[in-house]
Amino acid sequence: MAQNTGTAGAPPDLSVQLGPLRLKNPVMAASGTFGYGEEYADFVDVERLGAIVVKGVSLHPRPGNPPPRLVETPAGMINAIGLENVGLESFLDTKLPYLRARGATVVVNIFGNILEEYGELAARLDGVAGVAALEINISCPNVKQGGMVFGTDPVMAAKVVRAVRFATSLPLITKLTPNVTHIGDIAKAAVDAGTDMISCINTVAAMAVDVFTRRPKLANVIGGLSGPAVKPIALRCVYEAVKAVTCPVIGLGGIACAEDALEFLLLGARAVQVGTANFVNPRATLDVLEGMERFLRVEKLQSIEAFIGSLDTECVFPFAERTCDAGDAA
């Protein structure tokens, strides 16, 4: 909207500092929703993103769960992919070179069945050119071993983070599950064990059944809910995580447009990840990024840092009127 682009002049500064990691902007592609970048090459120049978090990588290739793996639900979808991936070796040989050649900022999401595998993955990724950070997946609901089993217990979560911290000097993000009573406790445990950042949320454990076949709609029975349906849950989790820890928090869960992303930043998340929205709109990450920039111009803010964490928690009545329709900006 031309009339809403605000002041001309220098573009607003979108760069953010996440502990040891500096990103050119706060918009990342979430793990498992953007493949290894190449899948969306026709739509997104992956180097424009703050970072791409690649599909979860395990030490050895994993076939994933049997089909059906997906079901659509109101404003969301449940998946039980089961961390199908090519394995570390093949990732390094066939997937990473493309991302390196593009100049993308690459965050490798790592997953292990047992504690030792997390450490070994981290050790083997340590010092690999083109890897900017690791995201520790202790929150996948779709695997029998590892995953959420680690992420729902502060003691286990700390053990995994410590094992990874010991094995690498790369910046570490720990990805948390919302399927706990106090996400702040898990976040604290991860920080004490040495993580540099927290990202949340992974999918919400969920289920769908068919009254005609009288069967679960997923072969795995239980899966993970994502999409706009989980955004309010994600906002609450990020809010609690931000209050619990001082390290940077990356917000994700149901982000489909710039306004969604800005909501997370307002709570104090220092970056966001766009996930399920990529499936519907292959350009979702860039749409969020461009909408964010327009928002800063409209609000006459020089940098995104000036907006992050600016939530006014004092609830007043009558509620403050919005000066513009965020839809115009976002």
């Binding site: 599909k55 049997p66 997906l70 659509e72 199908e84 069967r215 519907v280």
Partner: protein, 292 residues
């Protein structure tokens, strides 16, 4: 895997009409996709904006008209998404992502007759192929292009007028005998093959999973080169979500767990590339009143 460019494009509904029981033919102006799509490929269509329904739906191309920049989609109303789609009036904007998937390979030169097997709405992707093969086989001996086309009942079949002038010999069947041969289309197909002693140069099929399993087993047993168009629930259509997995023989150990993905490795598969015994054939779709 093809490296053909993919597009997102705001298509316009030009025309939509009911052509058989709960079956609609949708014509869309979609210049970029119509310009490069091939028979057997598909597009992900966003039924409407917003989170309800959230995901795009995959549809194969029923016809591709690069000259007037349109495509046609033939679909059955099977759920809320297709029910909403069936109410889109001319002029409606629908976002398409495509063309996706591998598409059909043409039959090898100077081989036997080309045989197509369609079950119900499975006629959708085969139609563009029939038109193209009809041109390729023009002037050839009668019966060198055959379509075996079956449905549960006559009301579910496309009217015979659709197939006039295509140069294909059509064998009709219905499960209830209301039109053509009474019984499964696969029975009609196998009986005809045996009676006439035909050895097809290429077999193309699309239809319900139970039918596809049957065709695949037949093709494997007699060594016929078959190309099967398969479907799946899908979220992304481009190989990112890994949701549309089908069991396949492992590269090293055929018995090991391995999956192919309908969107990226297909939707056209050879009979040997799927582990059919691992696929459960599920019951028919729920009655439509649930969605309206």
């Amino acid at each position: 895997m093809t490296s053909m460019p993919k597009f997102t494009e705001d298509a316009r509904v030009i025309d939509q009409r009911a052509v058989a029981f709960e079956t609609h033919l949708l014509r869309l102006r979609s210049p970029r996709i119509a310009g490069c799509a091939r028979a057997g490929q598909f597009a992900m269509l966003q039924v409407r904006d917003g989170p309800d329904p959230l995901l795009r739906r995959p549809f194969s191309f029923h016809r591709i008209h690069p000259d007037d920049e349109t495509i046609e989609i033939l679909y059955r109303v099977v759920g809320r998404g297709t029910w909403l789609l069936s109410h889109c009036a001319p002029g409606t904007r629908l976002n398409l992502l495509g063309p996706l998937g591998n598409g059909f390979d043409p039959p090898p030169e100077a081989s036997g007759p080309a045989v197509l097997i369609a079950g119900g709405i499975g006629i959708a992707p085969l139609f563009e192929l029939i038109v193209r093969l009809g041109r390729a086989f023009e002037g050839g001996p009668k019966g060198s292009l055959r379509l075996f086309y079956g449905a549960r009942t006559a009301a579910e079949l496309l009217p015979p007028g659709f197939f006039e002038g295509l140069g294909a010999t059509i064998h009709w069947s219905t499960d209830d005998g209301s039109f053509g041969y009474e019984g499964r289309v696969t029975e009609l197909f196998q009986d005809t093959m045996e009676q006439e002693g035909l050895r097809p140069g290429a077999v193309y099929s699309c239809g319900p999973l139970a039918m596809q399993v049957h065709v695949a087993r037949w093709a494997l047993a007699c060594g016929a080169p078959a190309q099967l168009s398969l479907e799946s629930l899908m979220a992304c259509g481009v190989g990112a979500c890994l949701g549309c997995a089908l069991p396949a023989p492992g590269a090293d150990d055929p018995a090991s767990d391995h999956y192919v993905h309908v969107c990226k490795d297909g939707p056209i598969f050879t009979a040997g590339s799927i582990q059919w015994h691992k696929i459960q054939v599920r019951r028919a779709h729920p009655p439509i009143f649930l969605y309206s």
